[in-house]
């Protein structure tokens, strides 16, 4: 398993990122609990961030400072925090009105 023997490099970042991403997708696709789905979203976002961080490695860049990847990662984190706040508020409201957070029960707007 040369992959495991190599020093930590880009491919490891990508592997972990892909794993987190898939885990998140699976979590979103299987959970009926809204909080579970939110956790899945967090995982997906973090998997994506890992890709940015990986590609922001000094080996891939020239003389310039090249903080683009890191910046985007920070933005996504901030975005995720904002999204989580809104989503949790929605979940809380939904719970207040329906006494449940099962997303399958949220079918009032269905056409």
């Amino acid at each position: 398993m040369s992959f495991l023997c190599e020093p930590i490099g880009l491919s490891h970042y990508l592997a972990v990122g892909a794993f987190l991403f898939v885990t998140g997708i699976v979590c979103m696709a299987t959970k009926r609990n809204a909080l579970g789905i939110l956790m899945g979203i967090e995982l997906v976002l973090n998997g994506a961030i890992l890709n940015f961080v990986g590609f922001a490695s000094p080996y891939f860049r020239d003389e310039n400072l090249g903080l683009d990847g890191h910046m985007i990662a920070l933005f996504v984190i901030v975005l995720a925090a904002a999204e989580a706040a809104v989503a949790l508020a929605i979940a809380l409201n939904f719970y207040n009105n329906h006494a449940t957070i099962d997303v399958d029960r949220a079918n009032e707007l269905k056409g």
Partner: protein, 819 residues
């Protein structure tokens, strides 16, 4: 006084505008002026009083600057830079004819330019001569008297009025609020219009004020608008005047088209007025057809001139050739063409303007409106329908006298002659006191026109002035009588001398004045009432005319002398029927009383004026007399006999009337005529030696003709009113049967087409397409709805599967197919 001369136009303008101010004040603030506008009388009277003061002051200024009778030696220099262009007063001797002549002093100037066209201007300007000044004094003085008189006469209008002569459909009398303020408002507007008419300096302004006085007349005749007769009379006056004004418009258009100006006098050397074009200084002020008229009517000859030239002419060359040919065209001395180009145009212009005067001055055949106009309040009859407005026609004839050719003057004389005869004959048999005076007015206006028509410019204008004085006096006296006995019918009066002596004696003075009583010049000095001087002057002029044109002159002189007898007869008949003898209606006599002082004082003032206005003795102390003031304004150039071209008639110049061989016989004839008329009236109505009933029975057909007023109203009714109505009903029939039917047919067709297109095109075609589109959209949406399950996990799975599928497809594409 002469230092005020530059301010003369401003003084007179103020005199014109003061009544307008009064009109506006009453119009806007009538409700604030006391109960029922009581203060309106004060406002209007103060305004006209101030105008009177200004007018008399202006007269003093004018006559001190231009003393009448004096010889004007000095040719006034043009005052460059000054707006007013003083027409030169010149005293020159005409080399061709060797006759000394004077140009009347005239003050013309421009106030405001209304419009400017290529080479022609329409302006507000003034034309001041002695005639203007005399008219100003006359109009303002009489108007002031009548304003005071009206304050008393219209007293009833201060309360609610029950008008017994206006009946509702159910037979009740009309009750209405009094209209005191409205009366004075209309009077003020009238004074403004009349003064504006007198001062206006061009034909257009004259026409505008001309229509304004007509409008005021309409207001005032129809003052008792609830009475059917009053509103009909107002409309009749207005419509009959329109007939005359139509002719006047034609005359004005002729002048404008050919001369390019409306101005009477010349404002500056390069823009001559109508008078200067017609009677130019070069031509010794003799009347000749102006160049503009010759050119206008000789348009075909000018065209010929341009076409037959050997080489094309430039504009300057052509105008030079035309100018050279104009004298020949004018006199009809061109080879093979004896047409006097432009002569007919000048006749048309003159007769057109006279048409307007026929309407306004109630001349035959348009005299029918004036007697009916007596429906208005009596002060209005005195001011508007005897003294001033109806005299406006005579004034305009006098003003535009320089443009009248002998043919036109003869027309004027004939119309005046017929009018004076008609009016006098009808007045003999009328029983309504105001109608006697109205027909007398018609007759006297005929006198003025006749005088002007036979060349007696000063005689006609003098009679205008004296007539205004004594006729307004007579009307006010009749108003005083009507005020006392509440009826117009003389058969119900009689014996009023005891009850109202002031009215009776002032009216007697008026009757003597209109009859022309005076002692002929036996001792070298003739003395008489005002009418004596003016009527004698007219008869003298007619006599002079008769010596040159026996055929026309005999008729004119017979009519005028006979008319003088009739005048004396009907006036004294009226006086005897009203004041002399025993009262014929005891009830009316009981209630009769002398009028209040505010009404009597104007009577006395006007009576004094009617006696003294024409006296020549003022000349002894250097004051202007009426005759000399009027003669000062005599237009330049009518100091010569004027022969006609188409008619064998010669207009004598006016001094021929003053010759001793004329003055002697005419004075005696006039004296005899007046005395004869008075004696005749006395025989019938005072001494009752003859019974008028007998005469009436003997001449029954003539009596019926006169009582029927020569059946003019009936003839006009049958010919014009019925004719118009018949034509109108024919046209209305055509309208209904043909035009309406055609339109109905078109409309029916349109409805059919619209219905068809509604069913087929609109509903099936356009609506169908739109409905089909919406149906398809709805169906598509309905189908697509199934895709939106709302299952979150389903969506996530779909996204993942699609992404993977896309990835696989892309890889497949990249690595196998693209290679």
């Amino acid at each position: 006084m002469e230092v005020f001369l530059p301010y003369l136009p401003s003084l007179l303008a103020a005199a014109v505008l003061l009544p307008l101010v009064s009109f506006c004040v009453i119009l806007l603030f009538a409700m604030q002026l006391g109960r029922r506008g009581k203060g309106a009388a004060a406002v209007a009277t103060i305004a006209i009083l101030a105008s009177t003061v200004l007018s008399f002051f202006s007269a003093a200024v004018w006559f001190s600057a231009n003393p009448p009778g004096a010889v004007h030696h000095v040719a006034e220099t043009e005052d460059a830079g000054h707006e007013d262009a003083h027409a030169a007063e010149a005293h020159a001797t005409d080399e061709h004819h060797g006759i000394p002549h004077e140009v009347p002093p005239v003050l013309v100037g421009e106030g405001y330019t209304l419009a400017r066209f290529a080479g022609a201007e329409v302006t507000i300007n003034y034309y001041i001569d002695a005639l203007t000044i005399v008219m100003f004094c006359l109009v303002t003085f009489i108007a002031t008297c009548i304003h005071f008189y009206s304050t008393g006469y219209m007293h009833d209008e201060l309360h609610d009025v029950v008008d017994h002569e206006a009946l509702l459909a159910n037979g009740d009398s009309v009750e209405r609020p009094g209209r005191f303020a409205r009366f004075f408002q209309a009077l003020s507007l009238f004074c403004f219009s009349m003064l504006g008419l007198v001062i206006s300096g061009n034909f257009l302004m004259t026409f505008v004020f001309w229509e304004l006085v007509g409008l005021c007349s309409w207001f005032l005749i129809g003052f008792y608008v609830e009475r059917q007769s009053a509103s009909t009379a107002a409309n009749k006056a207005f419509i009959v005047n329109r007939v005359g004004d139509f002719g006047m418009l034609i005359g004005l258009m002729t002048l404008w088209a050919s001369l390019g100006t409306f101005n009477y006098g010349e404002l500056s050397a390069d823009s001559p007025g109508v008078f200067q074009q017609v009677r130019s200084e070069k031509n010794a002020y003799q009347l000749q057809v102006p160049d503009g008229m010759v050119q206008l009517s000789a348009a075909s000859r000018i065209e010929e001139l341009a076409l037959t030239a050997s080489e094309p002419l430039s504009r300057e060359q052509l105008s030079k050739e035309v100018a050279a040919a104009i004298p020949a065209w004018r006199n009809g001395t061109t080879e093979g063409d004896t047409t006097r180009y432009g002569y007919t145009l000048l006749i048309i212009a003159g007769i057109g303007i006279f048409c307007g005067c026929v309407g306004k001055s109630a001349q035959f055949p348009l005299h029918v409106w004036l007697p009916d106009a007596m429906e208005g309040p009596t002060p209005v009859s005195a001011l508007v329908h005897s003294a001033t407005m109806v005299a406006a026609g005579v004034f305009l004839v006098a003003r535009s006298y320089p443009i009248f050719l002998p043919e036109v003057l003869l027309t004027i004389a004939v119309v005046g002659c017929i009018t004076l005869f008609l009016g006098a004959t009808i007045a003999m048999v009328a029983t309504d006191i105001k109608r006697v005076l109205a027909y007398s007015t018609v007759s006297q206006l005929g006198y003025m026109m006749l005088a002007l028509g036979v060349g007696g410019w000063a005689a006609g204008v003098m009679h205008l002035v004296t007539h205004a004085c004594f006729k307004s006096l007579l009307f006010l006296c009749s108003g005083s009588v009507i005020h006392a006995v509440h009826t117009n019918e003389m058969p119900q009066m009689g014996g009023l001398l005891r009850k109202m002596p002031w009215t009776a004696y002032t009216m007697l003075i008026g009757c003597l004045a209109i009859a022309g009583i005076g002692l002929p010049s036996i001792f070298g000095l003739s003395i008489g009432l005002s009418g004596y001087y003016s009527k004698d002057a007219i008869l003298e002029q007619i006599y002079a005319f008769r010596m040159m044109n026996p055929a026309w002159g005999n008729v004119f002189f017979a009519a005028a002398a006979g008319g003088a007898t009739l005048t004396a007869f009907y006036m004294f008949r009226m006086w005897y029927l009203t004041f002399a003898g025993e009262p014929r209606s005891a009830k009316k006599f009981e209630h009769a009383h002398e009028s209040p002082r505010v009404m009597v004082v104007p009577l006395v003032l006007l009576a004094i004026l009617a006696v003294v206005v024409a006296w020549p003795i003022y000349g002894w102390v250097g004051l202007p007399t009426l005759a000399s003031s009027v003669e000062e304004a005599r237009p330049a150039g009518i100091w010569q006999d004027m022969p006609g071209v188409y008619l064998n008639v010669t207009m004598p110049e006016e001094s021929k009337g003053h010759a001793p061989e004329v003055k002697g016989p005419v004075g005696l004839i006039a004296f005899g005529a007046a005395i004869g008329g008075i004696l005749l009236a006395s025989v019938f109505y005072l001494w009752k030696s003859l019974d008028p009933e007998d005469v009436r029975r003997t001449f029954n057909p003539i009596y019926r003709l006169l009582v029927g007023k020569w059946f003019f109203d009936e003839i006009y009714q049958a010919v014009f009113v019925k004719g118009t109505l018949a034509i109108a009903s024919c046209i209305a029939m055509f309208d209904r049967r043909v035009i309406d039917a055609f339109l109905d047919c078109l409309a029916w067709l349109m409805v059919r087409i619209a219905r068809l297109s509604d069913t087929w095109l609109d509903r099936r075609g356009i609506d169908g397409l739109v409905n089909w589109c919406s149906l398809q959209t709805w169906r598509l949406g309905d189908r697509m709805r199934g895709l939106q399950t709302g299952g979150l996990r389903q969506y996530v799975m779909l996204i993942v599967v699609s992404t993977v599928a896309l990835f696989v497809l892309l890889s497949f594409w990249t690595y196998s197919l693209a290679r």
